[in-house]
C-alpha cells in the first residue's frame, strides 16, 4: 500500500504544484514516493528528497524524458505502477495531459481534479465548472488520481531526508517530438501560485490599459490574469486566462477589475480567500462572489488604489 506522486518539474526545480500534490498524497496515509523523470534532473530529484513527508525519490534520467512527453512518461509509470496502489499527479496542464494516458494503459478509471479526499476511496471533484460537486467512489484495484493544487496546502519544501533511487528508463517510444516552447517571460509570480492576483476584463478596453494593472501589481507583488473576454479581444495573451478552461487560481487576494463575472470565469477564481471586484455596473454578477465590491470607474479607481498603497 504505497503512493507514487508524479512530480512536475523543469529538470532544475520542482514546480510548486508538486508540493501540493505531495500534501494530498500524504492525506491518504500511505508511504509516499515521488517520481522525478527528466533529463539532467538531478537537482529536481535532490529537491524532492528534501520535501517533508517523502519516503523515497525515484529518479529516471534519459534524453526522452527531457520534455516529459506523455507518451514517454506513461510507459515508464505503467511499469512502475505494479509497486504502487495509488498514482497521483497535479491537475495542471502537465498532469491532465499525462494521467489519463497512464490510467488507460492500466485499464483503470481515473478520478481527476480532486478538491478533497473524503476517505481512502472517495473523493470530491467539481463538475459543471464548479457549479456542482460530485462525491465519487472508486472500486478499482488501483487509484489513479489528479488533485487541484490550490485545494491542498503545500507541504514544506525543506526538512525531509528521503533517499534518491536511480531507476532505469524505459526504451523511447518516439511517438511525438518536442519542437519548441514559447513561455511568456515575466518577473511576476506565476499566476497559478501567486499570493495576489489582479485580473482585468473587457472593461479595460484595450491592451495598453492593462499597464494600469501592472503598476498596481508592482505594488502588491501580484500576478496578472484576465477574463476570457479580455483574451478574446486580444488585450493579453491566452495564458492570462482565468476560468473553467484557463487557469484555476485561489490566491489570498483576487482583484477583479472590469470583469462582469461569467460563470466560466467564476469557476477559475471563486475559491480565492478574499475577492475584490471593481466594476462600474452595480448589477455585474462578479459582485455576488466579492467580499468587497467597489462600484466605480476603474480608470479612476485603479490609479487611486495604486497611489494609496
Amino acid at each position: 500500500m504505497t503512493t507514487l506522486v508524479i512530480a512536475e518539474h523543469s529538470n532544475l526545480t520542482l514546480r510548486a504544484s508538486t508540493l501540493n500534490t505531495i500534501a494530498a498524497a500524504l492525506q491518504l496515509g500511505e508511504p509516499v514516493s515521488v517520481l522525478v523523470a527528466g533529463y539532467g534532473a538531478d537537482m529536481a530529484a535532490q529537491e524532492a528528497s528534501l520535501v517533508v513527508g517523502v519516503h523515497q525519490v525515484l529518479h529516471a534520467d534519459a534524453p526522452h524524458y527531457a520534455e516529459q512527453l506523455a507518451e514517454e512518461m506513461a510507459v515508464l509509470i505503467q511499469k512502475l505502477a505494479t509497486d504502487f496502489t495509488t498514482l497521483i499527479a497535479p491537475a495542471t496542464v502537465f498532469g491532465r495531459n499525462l494521467l489519463p494516458r497512464v490510467a488507460a494503459l492500466l485499464d483503470i478509471a481515473p478520478i481527476t481534479d480532486i478538491l478533497a479526499i473524503e476517505s481512502n476511496d472517495t473523493f470530491v471533484r467539481p463538475i459543471y465548472a464548479g457549479n456542482a460537486l460530485a462525491k465519487v467512489q472508486t472500486l478499482e484495484t488501483k487509484k489513479v488520481l489528479s488533485v487541484r493544487p490550490t485545494s491542498f496546502e503545500a507541504t514544506a519544501a525543506q526538512g525531509g531526508n528521503a533517499s534518491v533511487v536511480k531507476i532505469e528508463a524505459c526504451a523511447a517510444v518516439r511517438l511525438s517530438q518536442f519542437k519548441s516552447r514559447d513561455l511568456a517571460s515575466s518577473d511576476r509570480p506565476e499566476l497559478a501560485g501567486a499570493r495576489v492576483v489582479i485580473s482585468g476584463g473587457r472593461g479595460l478596453q484595450s491592451g495598453e490599459n492593462f499597464q494600469m494593472l501592472e503598476a498596481l501589481a508592482d505594488k502588491l507583488g501580484a500576478a496578472i490574469g484576465a477574463s476570457r473576454a479580455a483574451v478574446d479581444a486580444g488585450y493579453v495573451p491566452n495564458d492570462y486566462q482565468v476560468g473553467q478552461t484557463g487557469k484555476i487560481v485561489a490566491p489570498e487576494l483576487y482583484i477583479a477589475v472590469g470583469i462582469s463575472g461569467a460563470v466560466q470565469h467564476l469557476a477559475g477564481m471563486k475559491d480565492s480567500k478574499v475577492i475584490v471586484a471593481i466594476n462600474k455596473d452595480p448589477d455585474a454578477p462578479i459582485f455576488q462572489v466579492a467580499d468587497y465590491g467597489l462600484v466605480a470607474d476603474l480608470f479612476q479607481a485603479i490609479p487611486e488604489l495604486t497611489a494609496a498603497l
Binding site: 506523455a70 483503470i108 456542482a132 460537486l133 460530485a134 495564458d239 478552461t245 487611486e304 488604489l305
Partner: protein
C-alpha cells in the same frame, strides 16, 4: 485520409444548472442540450481540413441515447460526411467512451481523431488521452494550432505559461482548445438538408465493449456558498478594509 471527430451532447453552456434535490445528479429534464463547445471546435477543424483538401471524409461519432441524434444532425449541417450513434443508455464514463471509440477507430481506420479537450459537464479532460493510450497513438492535447503536411502533424498546444509545439507522425489524437478556431454556424438550408441524411447506428456490443461505469457517484451537491460581501464606497475604504479587516495587504 479520413478523420473521426468525437462529439458529446451536454447541457448548453448558457444554462444555469440545478442540482437535483435528492443529490443524484443535475436536473436535465426540460433543459436545453447542445454540442459540447470544445467538440464544436474539433468538428470545425475537421471540416476546415476537408475544405483545404487534406481530409477526404469527416466522420462524426457520439455515444448515448437516441436523443443524441440532434448533435449528429448539427454535425451534418456544418459539414460532417457521415455520422454514427453508438447507442446506449448506461451512464457513460470517459474510460468506457475511450474504449468504444478505440474499437470504432479500428473499424474506420482514420489517420486523425479530433476531440474537444474536455466536456463542460463532467470537466473530466480524459477521453482523448485515454483513446491515444488505448490505440498506442501520439497525442496532442489543448491544441491551439494544427498543421498537417504529408504524414506529419505539427501541433501547437496551450500549456501553463505559454505555448508548446510538438510534431508527430500520423496517426494522431488531437484535442481542441478554445482558440483552435471559431466554429461556424449551421445555415438553415444545411440544417434542412441534414434532416434527410442517414444516422448510422451501432451498439457497444457490436464493438465488443461493455460500457458499464467503473466509478460510483455517491452524491452531487451544490458548492459551498460564499458569505455575502459588502459594498465599499471609496478606494480609501477599500484599502482600509483590506488592511485592517481582511489583513491581506
Amino acid at each position: 485520409m479520413k478523420v473521426v471527430v468525437a462529439l458529446k451532447r451536454v447541457i448548453d453552456y448558457n444554462v444555469k444548472i440545478r442540482v437535483k434535490t435528492d443529490g443524484t445528479g443535475v436536473e436535465t429534464a426540460n433543459v436545453k442540450m447542445s454540442m459540447n463547445p470544445f467538440d464544436e471546435i474539433a468538428l470545425e477543424e475537421a471540416v476546415r481540413l476537408k475544405e483545404a483538401g487534406i481530409v477526404s471524409e469527416v466522420i462524426a461519432v457520439t455515444l448515448g441515447t437516441q436523443a443524441c441524434q440532434d448533435v449528429l444532425r448539427t454535425a451534418l449541417a456544418v459539414g460532417a460526411d457521415r455520422v454514427v450513434l453508438i447507442e446506449t443508455d448506461v451512464e457513460l464514463q470517459p474510460l468506457a467512451v475511450a474504449t468504444c471509440l478505440k474499437a470504432f477507430v479500428q473499424k474506420e481506420q482514420p489517420r486523425l481523431v479530433l476531440l474537444g479537450k474536455q466536456a463542460i459537464d463532467d470537466d473530466a479532460n480524459q477521453t482523448g488521452q485515454m483513446l491515444a493510450a488505448l490505440l498506442g497513438w501520439a497525442q496532442a492535447t489543448n491544441a491551439f494550432k494544427l498543421e498537417i503536411a504529408g504524414d506529419h502533424a505539427t501541433v501547437t498546444r496551450e500549456i501553463d505559461g505559454g505555448l508548446e509545439t510538438l510534431e508527430a507522425s500520423l496517426p494522431v489524437i488531437v484535442t481542441a482548445d478554445l482558440r483552435l478556431n471559431t466554429p461556424r454556424y449551421a445555415t438553415l438550408p444545411n440544417i434542412m438538408k441534414a434532416k434527410k441524411k442517414t444516422i448510422e447506428s451501432l451498439l457497444p456490443a457490436d464493438l465488443g465493449v461493455d460500457p458499464s461505469p467503473r466509478l460510483k457517484t455517491l452524491l452531487v451537491s451544490d458548492p459551498p456558498v460564499r458569505k455575502p460581501g459588502i459594498v465599499v464606497n471609496s478606494v480609501t475604504e477599500l484599502v482600509e478594509k483590506l488592511r485592517n479587516e481582511a489583513r491581506v495587504i
